[in-house]
């Protein structure tokens, strides 16, 4: 991959995990960089406005290092400051995908032995979203990052509906095919369109009485497992997810589901 250093993660000496803040070059310095535009022309007043905004953001001793007038009443700012806030890392609980990593062979064996049949997977980019790069990377034979997509697994029968599928169309396709799991991909996130669309999908599945028979997954660059759970999905997969991670999750969750 892109980093050379694969040294193990270890605690920084002298760190208090109950009060963690940003680090520049000295533990506890709180150094943060921010950049933004303001809808006022550059100048002394705008510079002071930028500085005061940084103070209100929680930065002590903010310094304006760059200002540029963008014309037509706009300006651009780069500031550094010292963040006065801390977080208690010991109190943080983040829901994570908890299934074990399995190999291609282990996934197929698990499904075919325990379920006794192939799982039927329906995938789609829903709503107005036309970006199939993500769903294709997970589902298509060719796969992603050197791993086969789900189509290549004997354990899965994959129906990829492609882009701009309405939730209603997806629901009727799920009924028609008797799907076991549905993968919904959302790439466009402008004005949070993906959240309302995903929430609508879960509502429709529940209203239709199909929820308990289906594993619902969603994925996309701005999706996290936590957000997915909040929206009522069983799992969410973010940027960099490989097909095997999804396959391993599906296999193990389906076997749990059988029990």
């Amino acid at each position: 991959m892109t980093t050379r250093d694969d040294s193990p993660a270890r605690a920084v000496s002298g760190l208090d995990l109950h009060a963690v803040g940003p680090y520049g070059d000295t533990l506890g310095d709180g150094i943060v960089q921010v950049s933004f535009s303001l809808p006022v022309p550059a100048g002394p007043e705008a510079r002071e406005a930028a500085r005061r905004l940084a103070v209100q953001m929680g930065l002590n001793e903010p310094q304006v290092y760059h200002e540029a007038d963008l014309g037509y009443g706009f300006s651009f700012w780069i500031l550094y400051g010292k963040c006065r806030h801390h977080v208690d890392v010991t109190r943080i609980v983040v829901p994570k995908i908890d299934t074990a990593p399995l190999s291609f062979e282990e996934i197929n064996a698990l499904v075919l032995e325990k379920a006794g049949r192939r799982l039927r997977i329906v995938g789609a980019c829903t709503g107005t979203d036309a970006h199939t790069v993500g769903i294709d990377a997970i589902l298509n034979m060719k796969g992603f990052a050197g791993e086969y997509g789900l189509e290549r697994y004997p354990a899965f029968e994959v129906i990829n509906l492609g882009s701009q599928v309405s939730n209603a169309t997806l629901l009727s396709k799920v009924r028609e095919t008797g799907a076991d799991a549905v993968l919904v991909s959302q790439v466009v996130t402008q004005k949070d369109v993906h959240l309302s669309n995903l929430a609508e999908w879960v509502d429709m599945v529940e209203a239709d009485g199909l929820r308990q028979d289906l594993l619902l997954l969603c994925g996309g660059p701005r999706i996290t497992h936590e957000v997915a759970l909040e929206l009522g999905f069983d799992a969410g997969f973010g940027a960099g997810t490989t097909p095997r991670q999804v396959a391993a999750w599906l296999a193990q969750k389906w076997v749990q589901h059988l029990r």
Binding site: T2, S35, F36, S37, A68, L70, G71, Y72, F74, F76, T128, D129, A130, T132, V133, D136, K142, G162, S163, Q164, V188, T189, Q190, K191, V193, P221, A239
Partner: protein, 525 residues
């Protein structure tokens, strides 16, 4: 064009021959057909504007009425002109009357046919006058203010609100942008109508409407005066309304339009019969209106690997070129698309990308070429992204690209914020200035990595094009030869809008286009 890559001219000729045969097949197919969108474009050219009380465009209402009356296979122009003549109304008022069933749409009786034809011809000629006027206005701007140095720096705006877009566009122009493209709202390509009016809401972009085109044109004209350089407007002649978009572009002085033979088929699942028929008409419109078309083969590399599929881009450039030339476009109007999309961690990636970019430059010496920045391997690490974009800018400048889409460090995150664009413009201008004549100083090592790569890609394109020629383009699309995507002749959206022409089909706008093209062909560009 100095030849630095030692490309095999026999291979280039074989590519053009095969692509020419493919273009002949496509245009032969299109010549026997019309579509609902072509007929609506004819009405727009003849002066119909506006929507009904439900905001459905009047051109849709009239063409739907013509289809219901079984008139489309002979063209909407004659029955519509007959209605205009009989009612004495303006084209838009006549269309409204037809929509409200106050006026019927029927083929003229024999006695009045000549008069109806004369009316149709004069309405079509009025459209041509508007297009000529638009061309002259652009020409005068360019003569007075110039276009700036090439590559033309091209940015997108996409806030969803046309009024917000104009602010962004003006700021871009001040920062050095020479082309401003308004990205359309997601899925507009699948609408079989063009929305009406100025719009302030959209997802992933702003609706392309006639009113929005005018609003952006006015803003860019103002910015052009402010910065002393003509700033071009770009939008999309693509999707189900491709011919109408090209027509609005011609009427409202767009300067650049995205227009690709295969993009809609592959990436929007638009029916191939529909889009190839629409393509032929819309390219003639673009040719007559002096628009630069940008083709979209760069998109193949978003689904296929950029190293392995490089030849598919080149093959598609040949197909787009041959179709375009046959539709009357001049090479100076062809922004053939390609992109830097290889994994930035691939060893010698920059050499391969330079080979590809220089190869396109040498094979299409008179085309501006539209060069697209990295998107596939952009990550959300904006600092790394800025460096990837810098590599792209250097490749672009040193290989003499004509239209340079600005890479955004925030690619893969959100539609660009105001400073994303200004930072991109500043860094690209710095690189373009610093390396302005680098390309002139460079020779490539004979038989080195760059020359070898270009020759291999060209050789692979020969193979692909001859295969596509032998299978037929329709067969090749069904076999997934482009972007690893398979499409069938009957599949996809919009087939119901394709109509086989009957004997007696008549379209006065086509005659006007031929006249405009003949006039342009006589001009020196």
């Amino acid at each position: 064009m100095e030849r630095k890559l030692d490309l095999d001219s026999g291979d280039i000729a074989r590519c053009r021959d095969a692509a020419g045969a493919i273009a002949d097949e496509v245009l032969g197919f299109a010549a026997n057909r019309t579509t609902v969108s072509i007929e609506r474009a004819v009405l727009r050219w003849m002066g119909v504007e506006g929507g009904d009380t439900d905001c459905i465009p009047l051109v849709n209402r009239v063409v739907d009425a013509a289809a219901a009356a079984g008139l489309l296979a002979r063209g909407v122009a004659l029955p519509f002109a007959s209605a205009v003549r009989a009612s004495g109304l303006t084209p838009s008022d006549a269309a409204r009357a037809i929509a409200e069933r106050r006026l019927s749409l029927v083929a003229p009786v024999a006695e009045f046919e000549d008069a109806a034809r004369a009316t149709a011809r004069s309405l079509a000629a009025a459209g041509s006058d508007r297009v000529r006027h638009t061309n002259r206005t652009r020409q005068r701007f360019l003569e007075r203010l110039g276009e700036g140095t090439r590559p033309l720096l091209y940015v997108i705006v996409a806030s969803g609100n046309i009024h917000e877009d104009t602010v962004q566009a003006k700021v871009c122009a001040r920062a050095g942008a020479q082309v401003v493209a308004v990205i359309r709202s997601t899925a507009q390509s699948l609408l079989d109508y063009i929305p009406e009016g100025a719009t302030t809401e959209g997802y992933g972009g702003t609706y392309a409407t006639q009113a929005n085109f005018r609003i952006m044109r006015d803003a860019l004209d103002e910015a052009s005066e402010d910065v002393g350089c003509y700033v071009r407007q770009c939008n999309y002649a693509s999707g189900l309304c491709m011919p109408e978009m090209a027509t609005l572009g011609a009427l409202e002085r767009l300067d650049v339009m995205l227009n690709d033979a295969l993009y809609g088929i592959l990436f929007r699942d638009i029916n191939m019969q529909r889009t190839l028929t629409d393509q032929a008409f819309s390219r003639k419109v673009s040719a007559a209106a002096g628009l630069i078309i940008n083709t979209g083969e760069d998109n193949y590399l978003t689904t296929s690997d950029a190293f392995d599929a490089a030849h598919t881009v080149l093959a598609s450039e040949f197909i787009n070129e041959q179709i375009a030339l046959r539709c009357g476009l001049k090479p100076s109007q062809l922004g053939l698309g390609h992109a830097m999309q290889m994994n930035p961690w691939r060893e010698d990636m920059f050499l391969y990308e330079v080979a590809q970019a220089r190869m396109a430059r040498e094979i299409f010496p008179d085309c501006p070429l539209k060069y697209m920045p990295p998107t596939k391997h952009m990550t959300g690490d904006i600092f790394r992204g800025h460096v990837q974009d810098a590599l792209f800018s250097l490749a672009s400048v040193m290989t003499g690209q004509g239209i340079h889409l600005l890479g955004m460090m925030t690619e893969a995150m959100h539609t660009p914020h105001i400073h994303d664009r200004t930072l991109a413009l500043e860094s690209t201008r710095m690189i373009a200035t610093a390396a302005r004549h680098l390309g002139d100083e460079i020779e490539f090592k004979p038989g080195g990595i760059i020359q070898t790569r270009a020759r291999v890609v060209l050789g692979n394109a020969v193979g692909l094009l001859e295969q596509v020629r032998d299978e037929g383009l329709f067969g090749a699309l069904a076999n997934g030869r482009f972007a690893d995507i398979r499409r069938t002749p009957e599949g996809g959206r919009g087939l119901e809008g394709v109509v086989v022409k009957e004997p007696g089909y008549w379209n006065p706008v086509e005659h006007e286009l031929d006249a405009l093209l003949a006039q342009r062909a006589a001009e020196v560009v």
